[in-house]
Symmetry: C2
Subunit: 371 residues, 2 copies
């Protein structure tokens, strides 16, 4: 719908509520579902983004005096310039390195004694591997105390989080956002019991039934549904009841940190969900099971699906990278774990380390074979 | 000296005049002469940079309403975040694309009707080639009206400028700067008779004899020497009589545009100069001669030198890429042109198109074979 609006009224679409002369910057969504969409920001919008992202980083522990190594792509990506501005707004020191120069990123962390690393969960793991295996450095000795992750699920997956924390000798916290709305709308606090919704003055949050679109009232301690947002303080490209396709569990009670607002855990994207004989399977949940076998498995995996889904015939076919310590019957043990945890039958194929694609951005968990 | 200071007092060196807590961002020089150096900016420094760069872009014709396609690397590079901030300060619309996604850059120019492209001269030529040959688009039809180049010589070289202007159907202007001081200190106006020194309230400019270091007084219409700068409004990493190694010609008279300050033309870096039997040869001057043969030659060339230089035994060995329309005796004709224009004997070896390395950043003009 957004893409269609922009095709008809380029570049920002008929929902651009500000003249192009007032737009100081255009970002693009990475377009997980197809063509990227353009996102226009006025100077006011950019300052609001910066303030809201700064709040989320503060909740995650960024402070004046922190040295923030930015391992997020800087460019069209909404995690680029807006994150950079937010870090400077907090009063921390920004190392604007981006992706694509991994050895330089590690060298800079070392030289400047950076204590915070921000990146995707996949790239956090990749960087630790690179430091250890190609640069002969122990990532845990580099001095990073916090790894702040986002831009793909992973960070909320316990086994992946544990792998990141172990590699870096650091505490890992997660933040979530969506390009068409804002870089970060929710972030974890020290208690790490879900991501606090940080921007009630910027977005109205609703949780809806993904089938019917009906709003689910927050009348229980925990509700589950699709996140829907409406901008209330946006000059260009405001969204009205924007369906994020993010499937979330929301805790409505107070948090140990003292914050009283709702907090979210993203369990997957609506587009990603697979259904095997009536059982819902989130690829990130499969990844969690696989990551639990580290170091027998590297943690990298890829689900192969015939057709568009979401319906898939069992068994669920999963390629898993064998790790340095792969023991007897590993494939069968992973299959058993998937059945025990996710109630679906799986067929695991072990592949050698390094075979599955690494990425600096969003990890791909499902490969669809559409004929 | 800077590198040594930073090695002893990491990360910013003993010339860092602000505590790390006040440093909001660290950039790195690209280090053409060796190890990169780190450059710390306080919030005040960053705002001063942004204002000074904005002035230079204004002189080059950037205005509110312009759509600015940023084809400069965004990351540690001082042409990244500082340029982005300056463009927004002018009130133009920024497309923060960076390098490394060339097809996306061209697609975005097309979709947003961008009218300004900022990049290195090499990348401007590469992008035009890519649009024409791989995307089937005429770059001149994309609507770019101004190509603003910098970060390597080229832009001041007439034949390269002509090639950029012809490819893009646009006017090309140049700006010059130096990472350790400021992204841009001088930029061309409409008259294009040298780059106006834009920041007399930020830097003191001196022109010195590169041999003796003696200051050359601006008492003639045109003087030549090495650029030396001193910061007068910088909180972190201020430089005192910093030798840029940039060799410049300075015009001291008034400009047709009405500006009265001095204006510079960079003729090369001290490190790049070659000497053949007492004759000074700047690689960028050789490139100018070669670029004049377009479309018989692509314009790409590489000088091969044995040893560290600057002294080189004739003939000057130049590899030149043959273009689509290479005619009879091209190599000999280029040799003759180099002798006529630069007074040195050259030996030209023609190589097929695409053989010489393309770069998104600074083009390499000299390959040194040090045994």
């Amino acid at each position: 719908e957004l893409r269609e609006s922009q095709r008809r009224n380029p570049p920002l679409g008929s929902h651009a509520a500000a003249p192009m002369e007032d737009v100081v910057r255009v970002h693009a969504s990475s377009g997980t579902t197809g063509t990227p969409s353009f996102i226009g920001l006025t100077a006011y919008d950019a300052s609001r983004w910066s303030e809201c992202i700064a709040r989320s980083y503060w909740a995650q522990g960024l402070r004046p005096g922190s040295v923030f190594a930015m391992g997020l792509s800087i460019g069209f990506f909404v995690g680029g310039l807006p994150v950079a501005a937010a870090v400077e707004a907090v009063g921390a020191t920004l190392l604007p390195i981006g992706t694509g120069a991994s050895d330089r990123l590690i060298a800079a962390i070392r030289a400047t004694k950076a204590d915070v690393l921000a990146t995707t969960p996949s790239y956090a793991i990749y960087l630790a591997e690179l430091a250890r295996e190609e640069m002969g450095l122990d990532p845990a000795a580099l001095g990073i105390r916090r790894v702040m992750v986002g831009a793909e699920p992973g960070g909320g997956v316990p086994a992946i989080r544990a792998q990141i924390e172990e590699s870096w000798g650091a505490r890992c916290t997660e933040a979530i956002g969506i390009a068409d709305l804002i870089t970060i709308h929710s972030a974890e606090c020290e208690a790490r019991d879900g991501c606090h919704f940080m921007v009630p003055d910027y977005l109205i949050m609703e949780i809806v039934d993904p089938e019917t679109g009906a709003v689910i009232p927050p009348d229980r301690p925990e509700i589950e549904g699709e996140l829907v947002f409406t901008h209330i303080d946006r000059e260009c490209n405001p969204m009205l009841r924007f369906r994020t396709r993010d499937r979330v569990i929301v805790k409505t009670g107070p948090c140990a940190c003292g914050r009283t607002g709702p907090r979210l855990r993203c369990i997957g994207r609506a587009d990603d969900m697979l259904i095997l004989r009536g059982v819902n399977v989130w690829p990130s949940a499969v990844r969690d099971v696989v990551a639990g076998f580290h170091p027998e498995a590297t943690g990298e995996m890829l689900i192969r699906v015939d057709g568009e889904g979401p319906k898939v015939d069992p068994p669920l076919r999963v390629r898993v990278e064998a790790g340095s310590a792969a023991g007897e019957g590993l494939a069968v043990r992973i299959e058993q774990a998937i059945r025990a945890r996710l109630i679906v039958q799986a067929r695991v194929e072990l592949v050698p380390r390094g075979v599955l694609p690494r990425t600096e951005m969003k990890a791909k968990l499902v490969e669809r074979n559409i004929s």
